[in-house]
């Protein structure tokens, strides 16, 4: 019964995540950028833009320039999350991919980085009056959600171990449209429930910053307006109206 | 819309004190606007105001500050032909404050 419920939940969450985010990405991709607005100095070539994006994604370059504390906590969280996520591939692959094996030991410590980062970010929402001012309830809740996911996951690793083999069988089953038994210890159920909610919220929340970054005209445009004429389709129609 | 009171008649002005109908200007009105601006009109002020009005009559716009200064230099002497002196006469700037008193429209733009 519970296994079925979670199975349905995860199918539902996955569909919402993929379709919802896909639709948003389609909207971003289809909405024209009428003018060239890269924040300069900006790269003058496509490859330069890729490099700029790479620095933003991998090092959070702009954030580093802006505020070292937010950068530090943000980086700890995101980098930790990345390693933790990659580590989770071991529950979906059989045999486990070799690079997942390699990062396995780091993934465990990464969870600490992730939780520390989140705690730091949350603390700033209370301690820094400017950030307190701009925080809506959802901004707090988002951090709480992520923290709870992290802590419940760590709880299973370090405190009340769950039957991880059974969990793996459950998820591998889902990938083949079979529903196997899911262990019922509370930490696991909480963990999985929260993860599913996160997946559901993703396309309707500020988590859209992840795809958004790649579509941000101030970052992804090439600085070459004098050399190459840039024209949005709706603007081209204006021209047909005669000048 | 607010208005100045001159000898019993009212002369409308915009939110910044520039009169809206330029033909309603008179010397008395200039004194009244000047008073509102806390400018005490003396001969030199009048010299500037008259020049502005003549210039406007011909060109439909106030003169460039530099052109004004050049004219002042000619009539009032070189020591008075400076931007600084203009600001002594009209602390809020010759272009804007003096135009207001002279009954010209406010010069607009990045100035």
């Amino acid at each position: 019964m519970l296994s079925t419920l979670y199975a349905v939940l995860f199918y539902f969450a996955t569909i919402l995540l993929v379709v919802g985010t896909g639709l948003k990405i389609r909207k971003y991709a289809r909405t024209p950028a009428p003018l060239k607005i890269p924040t300069t100095p900006a790269p003058t070539t496509r490859s330069g833009v890729w490099l700029r994006m790479f620095r933003e994604v991998v090092f959070f370059e702009s954030l580093f320039k802006a505020n070292k504390w937010i950068w530090l906590f943000g980086y700890l969280f995101h980098f930790g999350l990345l390693l933790v996520l990659l580590r989770h591939f071991r529950y979906f692959t059989q045999p486990v991919w070799f690079w997942v094996e390699i990062i396995q030991p780091f993934g465990v410590y990464a969870s600490f980085a992730m939780v520390i980062g989140l705690a730091g970010l949350w603390a700033r929402r209370f301690l820094v009056e400017r950030i307190r001012y701009i925080s809506a309830p959802s901004d707090h809740l988002m951090l709480v959600l992520l923290l709870a996911i992290g802590l419940s996951g760590m709880g299973m690793k370090f405190v009340a171990k769950t039957d991880i083999v059974a969990v793996k069988i459950f998820f591998q089953g889902l990938m083949r449209f079979q529903i196997n038994d899911l262990p019922t210890d509370p930490l696991l159920l909480i963990h999985l429930g929260l993860v599913a909610s996160l997946m559901i919220i993703f396309p309707i929340s500020k988590l859209l910053h992840a795809p958004g970054l790649f579509f941000s005209p101030s970052r992804n445009q090439v600085d070459n307006p004098r050399e190459q004429r840039h024209l949005a389709p709706w603007a081209a129609k204006l021209e047909k109206g005669g000048r | 819309m607010a208005a100045y009171e001159v000898n019993g008649t009212t002369v409308e002005h915009d939110e910044e004190g520039y009169i809206t109908n330029l033909s309603e200007w008179s010397k008395e009105l200039a004194e009244i606007i000047a008073k509102a601006e806390e400018v005490d009109m003396n001969e030199e002020h009048w010299e500037v105001v008259n020049f502005l009005r003549d210039y406007y009559e011909e060109y439909q716009i106030a003169p460039a500050v530099r052109v004004l200064i050049k004219a002042v230099k000619k009539t009032m002497g070189p020591e008075k032909g400076s931007n600084k002196y203009m600001y002594e006469l009209f602390p809020y700037g010759p272009a804007k404050q003096a135009c207001k008193i002279a009954g010209l429209p406010k010069p607009t733009g990045c100035i």
Binding site: T40, A66, N67, H140, P225, L238 | I111
Partner: protein, 515 residues
Amino acid sequence: MAPLDDAKPTTVTDVRGPDGHPLDIPRLACGAMADLQSFPAHVKHNERLGYPGELIDDWKEVAIAKIGELADKNRAFQVYLDACVKCGACTDKCHYFLGTGDPKNMPVARQDLLRSVYRRYYTFAGKHFPWLVGARDLTREVLDDWYNYYHQCSQCRRCSVFCPYGIDTAEISMAAREILDTVGKGQKYCNEIIGKVLDTGNNLGLQEKALRATLESLEEDIEEDTGVSVRIPLDEKGADILLIAPSADFFAEPHIEGLIGYAKVFHQAGVSWTVSSYASEAANFGLFIGSYENMREVSLRIRKAAQDLGVKRIVFGECGHAWRVGYSFLNTLAGPFDFLDQNFPIPQHILEFTHGMLERGELNIDKSRNDHIRLTFHDSCNVARGSRMGDMPGGQFEIPRAVLRAVCNNYFDMDRDTIMESTVCCGGGGGLLTDELLDLRTKGASPRMKAMQQVTEDHGVTHLAAICAICKTQFAKVMPKFGYDMDSILSVHQLVSNAIILDGQETNNTSAAED
């Protein structure tokens, strides 16, 4: 925790004392600038631009629909509304926040004024759980808040440099102003001026006859000064270069000294050039109100002037927002410029032109003529963060400095965090250069002025050079409040003009150092 309806205004207004680092962060002063309202446009100003004369009855529906329309037409608007994570990195980056302490002048809070409404009507969470995500209905108070606070943004893009997603509050401000215009709530300063450009070709309303008289007067002045006859041609068909200068260069100080500088450089270059009375304005206030259509209309005048006069090149004068529109948008708005000489950048900045001549050693310069000046340079925001000069990214920083160093012996940069891509706005850009906003302009200028005070203390700097008409006017107005003379602000080409020795110019060395 209800960020958008803050408590009653607290009293703190002057949050910045005279001392301290230029970028010191003030305490929040909620509501400090809530009542600052720039004059609304008159009916005729709005209607001239095709907007309703005054607030329409169904403003609410129209405004909400306009948000949706803009989100469909402009990717930046759509992405920026969605992507902000409220990280707070931008909160201390706006000079108006630094100067006023009003939290709604923090870039993210400024965006939220509109984002909260977008969320309410266009997102799932905002439709069903408004309290959770800070979404709110569009009410008259919200509309008024938009008007007041979107006219406290100079669209300088400083916040976009530091946001991890490049969210540019300027884009949101422009969109907000377009929405306000659409419902009949335009701003007088911008809309009156755009109307003047459409009617007379420039922001001032300067007719051809007056322009000609001014230019002739300047020719006289140059000849009197140098003994050389330098022309400032107007409407000369067949000239090689069309100069597009901000109309302030025909009117105000120190702008006009810059125009004299351009004329001298062109004279020495031996090129034929002309000003156009039809397109006698570089500035394009269509940018400020976020109106593609108005911006295009104004830009097309430049195209038409270039075609009518049969020029081969277009060169822009010293003008910040104008250069952004010129460099980044002109090709889009009024291109393609296939009828111009493709061997030169289209358009070219006057500094690119002058820099080229200096590099080739084609200008005879006597730097000592600027020895009475100890100089620093204000990077105008829209040049710094919205355009480029030369071939390399960052040329917009290097080229002006190279020119200044070539004509002046004593040059010093201000604090690195306040220049180049991090430059702090003069406080008067983006349609705020109007008298009723002077309080805001002064407070917004304080970070820049403090950075200048630092170099005055450390290096005895006396003067500030700028390449934007608005910056120059703004500084002339606010510098006296920070202990400088109003003529401490100089045009870059004024310094060039001081130092240049024209062929055949009488140089008697004793009077040479006068400016």
